[in-house]
Amino acid sequence: MSKNEKPKFAMYWADSCGGCDIAVLNIHEKILDVDANFEVVFWPVAMDAKYKDVEAMPDESILLTLFNGAIHSTEHEHIAHLMRKKSKILVAFGSCACEGCMPALINLSSKKDFFDTVFTTISTDNPENIRPQTSVKVPEGVITLPEMYSVVRTLDQVVPVDYYMPGCPPESHQIAAVIDLVIQVLQGKAELPPPGAVIGAGNSTVCDECPRKRDIKKIKKFDRIQFIEPDPEICLLEQGILCSGLATRNGCEAKCPSAGSPCIGCYGPAEGVLDYGARLMSAVASVIDSTDPAEINQILDGIPDPAGQIYRFNMAGSLLQAGKTAWNRK
């Protein structure tokens, strides 16, 4: 490429809430560096652009693509493949792209239940009970909609991914740091991390940054944050609050536990962990203070929705990835 031309930057949102895009804008004046160093060619949230424009670009012509959102529809998958083809560096950006995040909790239910909930529950005004169709005939011709998959997938379950940037959303200071890094690389001042690396995060867990006082753990009862007023000094788990911090990758500066709210695990598994939920389950269960099955179960009743709480962000990224109902279509 010719010297005066700035390297190209793209950002895309698949199945996501948009928080990631906002997080990027939330890096304040650093956003100017992005503009100074990159030519933004594709960023649905921030600018107008058409898929066909991207399709027209030569392969690998985009240097850096931040892909946020999980893969839940044929459109998501199509764009994932497209961005992979057109980008040199494809970053799974944010929890959705990395591990499925909230959208992937749908993997616990069937597609039908999902649609029923969306289109028939009280919050929806849908008297003739219409369902979205993949293709509809209208006088002007046929219009189509992408098809929904029954199982939400992470980006790297669809296309190879170069780097992962966890967080829901990733912390702005981490984003800024990563942008800096890439710019440094462009200026030849730094090396890229090894492919497949997790960037913009630590490699220990949230407890590492958590200011709360920690002692040995013995859990006699699980409680929920809305029902008790936890001691501000002491580890939340020791107070019976299922805090996911101990299994969750650090990098967020333990914002939630510091603020008195348990970590819910948005930064995903720690380095080298195969299944986030298994780690959390194993750790928490191990310190239940009882040897009697009945009492153990009674203590576990304190966790009303274990799968939801333990795999809140990691369902798609987990070993089983989805519940049976989701796998068995219909």
Binding site: P160, P306, L319
Partner: protein, 155 residues
């Protein structure tokens, strides 16, 4: 889709080095017969049982998982089998929520002497799983990485 009469489940069984694995040996030495559907893995203690192992086995094609260890109070590491017990109960709850029949995960205590008893438990479990039918969980695709070529961009 599955014809149960000919369905032969594959079951992964986790054993502890001191009681249940020895029990399996005892069964062997005593020539106690059981169905060949169960394949054992030896751990030092049921306390080593990481839920990851169970999830891995189920995700990779096992129809069920059996966890075994020393009898409560008899653990050769004093009390570690209780940790296995606690994890077992939480894991079971999670799996149930994921639509996996509770009958596909079982915990059995067996002392080194209880070869025949363990063998009987094997058969019992195998039959229970046979009745449940195959789990055939969709196999996961391994992650693959492509190294980005950046040399010419840098500078």
């Amino acid at each position: 889709m599955n014809n149960n009469e000919t369905f032969e489940p594959v079951i992964i069984g986790f054993t502890c080095n001191w009681c249940s694995y020895r029990a399996a040996d005892t069964a062997g030495t005593a020539r106690v017969k059981y169905a060949p559907n169960i394949r054992l893995i030896r751990l030092m203690c049921s306390g080593r049982l990481d839920p990851t192992f169970v999830l891995k086995a189920l995700a990779n094609g096992a129809d069920a998982v059996l966890i075994t260890g020393c009898h409560p109070g008899d653990c050769h590491y004093v009390e570690q089998n209780y940790k296995a017990l606690r994890r077992f109960h939480l894991l079971k709850r999670v799996l149930t929520q994921m639509g996996i029949e509770p009958g596909r995960l079982k915990l059995v205590w067996a002392s080194a002497a209880e070869g025949a008893i363990l063998a009987a438990e094997f058969d019992k479990f195998i039959n229970e799983v046979r009745a449940l039918g195959p789990l055939n969980w969709p196999l996961q695709k391994q992650k693959t990485f492509s190294t980005p070529a950046l040399e010419e961009v840098a500078a």
